[in-house]
Amino acid sequence: MQRGAAVAKKVNIRKQDKVNSKDILKILEKHSDDRGGLIAILEDIQTKYGYLPEKALRIVGEKTNRSLVDIYSVATFYRFFSLKPKGEHLVCACLGTACHVRGAPRVVSELEQQLGIKAGQTTADNKFTLETVNCLGACALGPVVVIDGHYFSKVKRSKVKQLLDKAQEGFDKLDIGKDERIFPIDVSCPHCSRSFRDEIVVIDGYPSLKVNVAVDGKKGELRLSSLYGSFNISTEFEIPEGTIASFICPHCGSEIKSTSDCSDCGAPMIPMLVSGGGTVQICSRRGCKNHMLDLV
């Protein structure tokens, strides 16, 4: 049971956000060119809220000239869609034929016992939602359990508690030094090509990367971890979560800015050259972990 056969993108389940008609309109605009793309619209709404709020469905009906009956019948037909809010962590147990003969029902009953709910329900504290699926297509690895987009293979009854504890801690906490997906990179300014490497301050056991940042008129130094995959930073002053910082090269003083925006939050991306060829882009919003690495 290693860290997942495949590390899928974490399903972003936010707590019951208030339905904002602007957000729905944005989603509808995205799909305005494909006629009949109702399922795609509903998928996007479900990704945003974790479920399909009644208000959102009514807005979709109004704006796309579909009757609520049609939308509701699609939303209730597919099992993927949920009309009830889901918990923070989504636990999906496979009950397909292969997993079934390998003992999936025992795993499911253990999950039910540990969480104190039946399959398809959400715990009272809104932490966990337990669902069963009919096949995940990873039959050779059965019984398969997916928690928050992380796949676990050959799950046994005895491993269930451990899995749930780990889920509560969060899978995004990385074990630096042990995880092979984390490696140090050296980056430099895209304008003057001078390295950001700073030997004086050490983060995660490696020399940090120093850049100057400006937030709301305040200027200061920002040190990033040079480990790709680590989000540890140290700053001279507190940068509140969610604010967008502008990055300035400490050598040539020019602002580093990409023409592309973050696909998650829309803030500008910050491009940096990777020594050995390629670029890495990080999101300029504090707290947003979106990044891209293009190696040549």
Partner: protein
């Protein structure tokens, strides 16, 4: 024109007619539940099965959705058809044992006993009410929900629909639900045909395009007096 044989009788009908229409026109009775003139054929109840083709290639099809073909051989009352129809009726009766329409059909087909467990669903999911609401009343207030054994008919979110004009058409066409009336729970009402009666036609004034299936309307007659 298309020439086909129905029960050995060679007939010509216009292209595009269904077997059911052709057979009924010629006077061969085929029982139906989910078929209604003026609504799109749906083929849900399967009661209108007929046998087409011959020998080992003969098969059962629903006549209400099958357009006539050149040289088609149709048998509307072969032993295979009657056997299948009887079975279908027994199953329908098991899901809606209280329906007068289905009881009558069953007794006409010689069903005297029930083999299957009675479910009291009061709905055979024939979609008549959904189609009346959509195609004749232009409302789309009710529709199918869920899937498989959980499939049901009703309004979205089980609350009274904004587009429902309480015409009662869905109840009028229903072959199964003598007990569907939910006006004593107005929040869940799916049609509220009885709302047209007491208090007399309360909601009628609200709608310019109100259509009422009751003609003459009892409530309106009372009001006039």
């Amino acid at each position: 024109m298309i020439t086909l044989k129905i029960n050995g009788l060679e007939v010509s009908v216009e292209k595009g007619t269904t077997i059911l229409e052709a057979a009924r026109f010629l006077g061969f009775p085929i029982p139906t539940l989910c078929h209604m003139d003026g609504l799109t054929p749906y083929g849900a109840c399967r009661l209108c099965v007929v046998e087409i083709g011959d020998g080992p290639r003969a098969k059962l099809v629903s006549s209400c959705t099958y357009p006539v073909e050149e040289g088609l051989k149709v048998r509307t009352a072969s032993s295979r058809v009657l056997k299948a129809r009887k079975m279908i009726l027994e199953l329908l009766l098991a899901s809606c044992p209280q329906s007068k329409t289905i009881q009558d059909l069953a007794s006409a087909h010689g069903i005297r006993q029930q083999r299957f467990k009675q479910e009291y669903d009061d709905c055979i999911l024939c979609g008549l009410c959904v189609r009346v609401c959509q195609e004749q009343m232009m409302a789309k207030a009710i529709g199918f929900r869920n899937r498989g054994e959980k499939r049901s008919i009703g309004t979205p979110f089980d609350v009274k629909s904004d587009v429902c004009r309480l015409c009662g058409g869905c109840m009028y066409v229903c072959p199964a639900c003598q007990l569907r009336c939910t006006y004593n729970e107005p929040e869940k009402a799916i049609c509220g045909g009885c709302a047209n009666l007491t208090p007399p036609c309360v909601q009628k004034e609200q709608f310019d395009d109100m259509m009422c299936y009751m003609s003459p309307c009892v409530a309106c007659e009372i009001k006039k007096d």
